[in-house]
């Protein structure tokens, strides 16, 4: 990725001077790879507080907003309106003090120009502390022997999480980590939350109370969700890559195929799910054995087919684009040295197109993890079941029980596949 050189160097008032000093090329921005050192940027743009990190100012403002909004929401039961609890109301005083100190330290670290590694460590510590304390607060706020009270994180908590997640994201971006360390950090964060959940520290929080009453259902829906999202992408890859290779060779087929797949993408997902009910019901009823292998009008089968249909375009078109991006000289040389068509495909074209194809798979995987939630509308199961139940019961805790795992799954898939794409593109000319 090429960072722009133009925004870094020229201040607003450079215009008139340039009429005399034409083309003083921006050596400074070249040296620092387009991103000027912090002090230079601050000085150039005339910001009054050169020692402050601009993004840090934004993060501190958001975090301050988080402190001023209710940290927790207390409800006497699942349906009634919540009552706000601020940090010092929601936690025992010592814990509230610890949190206050941590937040203050975090805001200072965000504001000043510390190294990215320190910022990352601070933000991760604060994020984990926030979740630990939400769990503590849930126990603190629940009246003894009360099974109906629901304690959930309030807007303040979410804003604080957002602020420090932003800090972590910025630090990670600035660190420009290699693929494996990125996956490592993801695994560490996952481990931390795994421990938090496994030790029951968060069990008092309302969403986990919803989980507790339907743990079995949660895991079976999780299984369905993963099966639908990953299964559809797997089938789309098995079908789409060969189709992409064939249509790369046949331009006429390519145009027609891409048109059809483009139109499929425009059909709204609920409609596509719904439209597959009738034909699949018909297949189940007429083709012998079809219902035995699980094909039926509602449920997993139409969901899988619809998700597959949506996945096909990105996989096919990225395969074509990947193959088109193979340097012509390399292909000509391969031919000239006596490679057969199959050898060229296996040694040169597919390996060079692979990162682009993998990018297509990454796009559809992330997209399908999200889209699978819609499958619940046609009885296909998955995390969407909790989201739609939650919507119909106006129980936001239940919505979160479906939404959070979906987002986590999609996010993890994106990080891991992005890392793989980067690892496999080493041979690409820059």
């Amino acid at each position: 990725m090429v960072w722009p050189n133009n925004p870094a160097g020229a201040g607003c008032r450079a215009g008139p001077y340039r009429r005399h000093i034409v083309f003083v090329s921006e050596i400074l921005s070249e040296k620092t790879g387009g991103r000027m050192s912090d002090t230079q940027t601050a000085a150039k743009s005339g910001f009054i507080l050169p020692r402050f990190d601009k993004l840090g100012v934004l993060i501190a403002v958001i975090a301050l907003g988080g402190v001023l909004l209710p940290f927790m929401i207390f409800r006497a039961n699942r349906i009634v309106l919540g009552e706000p609890r601020m940090i010092f109301e929601a936690l025992a005083t010592p814990e509230a003090l610890v949190l206050a100190l941590l937040l203050a330290a975090g805001m200072v670290i965000a504001l000043l120009r510390f190294r990215a590694g320190l910022k990352l460590a601070a933000s991760l510590i604060i994020l984990i502390a926030l979740f630990v304390l939400v769990g503590r607060s849930a126990y603190f706020l629940t009246p003894p022997d009360d099974n109906f009270a629901r304690i959930s994180p309030g807007a303040g908590f979410w804003l604080l999480v957002f602020a420090f997640a932003l800090l972590a994201a910025d630090a990670l971006t600035r660190l420009r980590l290699k693929p494996w360390p990125r996956i490592g950090i993801l695994a560490l964060v996952a481990l931390a939350f795994g421990i938090l959940l496994a030790t029951g520290s968060l069990n008092g929080v309302s969403t986990l109370k919803e989980y507790a009453t339907r743990a079995d259902r949660f895991w079976s829906e999780a299984q369905t969700h993963v099966l639908l999202a990953f299964g559809s992408v797997l089938i789309a890859t098995i079908v789409g890559v060969p189709v992409g290779i064939i249509s790369f060779r046949l331009p006429k087929l390519r145009a027609a195929l891409l048109n059809v797949l483009n139109i499929v993408q425009t059909i709204p997902s609920i409609a596509l799910f719904g439209l597959l009910i009738a034909p699949l019901a018909w297949i189940a009823a007429t083709v012998p054995g079809a219902s035995l292998i699980g094909i039926s009008g509602i449920g997993v089968a139409p969901a899988l087919v619809a998700l597959f249909a949506y996945s096909l375009l990105p996989v096919v078109s990225n395969t074509i684009v990947g193959l088109q991006s193979v340097p012509e000289a390399a292909n000509d040389a391969a031919k000239g040295m006596g490679m057969t068509g199959a050898q060229r495909m296996g040694w040169i074209e597919l390996p060079l197109a692979f990162p682009v194809i993998l990018t297509g798979i990454r796009i559809v995987l992330v997209q399908n993890i999200g889209l699978t939630t819609i499958a619940a509308l046609i009885g296909g199961g998955g995390f969407g079941v909790f989201i739609f139940q939650g919507i119909s019961q106006t129980a936001m805790d239940l919505v979160l029980l479906g939404a959070v795992p979906t987002v986590v799954l999609a996010f993890a898939a994106a990080v891991v596949l992005d890392a793989f794409v980067e690892m496999t593109s080493t041979g690409k000319p820059q």
């Binding site: 000289a329 040389a333 000239g336 040295m337 006596g338 490679m339 057969t340 050898q343 060079l352 041979g427």
Partner: protein, 310 residues
């Protein structure tokens, strides 16, 4: 020996190569010169059947190229192109080993050959074998491209503007290296270029092409002194002719007994270098040296008489 016999290539109505006939002697360098669109690249690509001729035949050592599978034919012929065409995802070593691998050489033999070639092209094997092409300079990439073409010890090497992407200094070094290697292995080279200077420098014979037709096929001396058509003359540039003639011969052949004033010139220099030195230093004769010993002189008069057609 490559015999090209009335070869023609046409796409629909357009004739790209038109009844070209020429014979390339073994162990010689044949430079094919022409402007873009002259059909020179198509002619080259018909030799290893990257382009199939519309009519006519090509024989290598008497054997019609159509008698073997195209891919088997190509594995026996080295091929190097402009912009090198290295595989960006494979290391230098893997790139060079491509044809040996296709031919099923065993690992040790292939590895030894890669080492040998890297050394031949002055690239330290320990340092360069595992690098990716993008980690090399343009000149290094070009050398790896030629090394790759020579990997399976082909008798014939086809080159399409192999030095086109290099800057002038690296280019002349690469040309010298190529000539050294050609003499060492006695490879038959067919080289396509748009640069007449390069053709005169490298070619034992030069084929000039325009609009698909072969205008002249002759030695550099003949091309310069007796251009067959005005177009050939234009490619050489009339103002350049004497200097180009001088650049074809070396001082050694024209040494006279005696000596002269000033710094000597080496026996391996071209007449053109000697002429330039004479003019620059304002002398009428130069001492000629071999291994540091002055062995005679070369005079301005003698040079003048060689700067025109004999």
């Amino acid at each position: 020996m490559i015999e090209i016999d009335a070869i023609t290539k046409s796409y629909d109505q357009t004739v790209v190569v038109d009844h070209v006939t020429l014979t390339i002697e073994p162990s010689s360098v044949c430079a094919v010169v022409g402007t873009s669109g002259s059909g020179k690249t198509t002619l080259l690509r018909m030799i290893n059947r990257l382009v199939e001729p519309t009519s006519g035949a090509i024989r290598i050592d008497g054997e019609d190229t159509r008698n073997t599978h195209a891919y088997e034919l190509r594995r026996k012929i080295g091929y190097a192109i402009q912009g090198h065409g290295l595989f960006p995802h494979r290391s230098v070593g893997q790139n060079i080993a491509t044809v040996p691998k296709l031919l099923g050489w065993d690992k040790d033999k292939t590895r030894a050959r890669v080492t040998e070639l890297l050394e031949l092209f002055q690239l330290d094997p320990a340092q360069f074998r595992d690098r990716l092409p993008r980690e090399l300079s343009g000149g290094q990439q070009q050398r790896v491209g030629v090394a790759r073409a020579l990997a399976a010890k082909p008798n014939i090497l086809l080159m399409d503007e192999p030095f086109g992407a290099l800057d002038p200094v690296i280019r002349s070094k690469a040309q010298e290296d190529l000539l050294t290697i050609q003499r060492q292995f006695e490879t038959t080279i067919v080289l396509v270029t748009h640069d007449m200077e390069e053709a005169i420098h490298l070619g034992d014979k030069i084929a000039v092409m325009d609009e698909g037709k072969l205008l002249q096929f002759a030695s550099p001396q003949q091309i310069i002194s007796k251009p067959a058509t005005p177009f050939v003359a234009e490619l050489i540039g009339t103002g350049e002719r004497p200097f180009k003639l001088l650049s074809l011969a070396r001082v050694g052949k024209f040494v006279e007994p005696g000596s002269a004033e000033g710094d000597p010139i080496d026996i391996s220099a071209t007449l053109r270098d000697a002429y330039a030195e004479l003019l620059w230093s304002g002398r009428a004769a130069l001492p000629v040296s071999e291994k540091g010993q002055v062995i005679g002189k070369i005079t301005l008069d003698q040079l003048s008489s060689h700067a025109r057609p004999q």
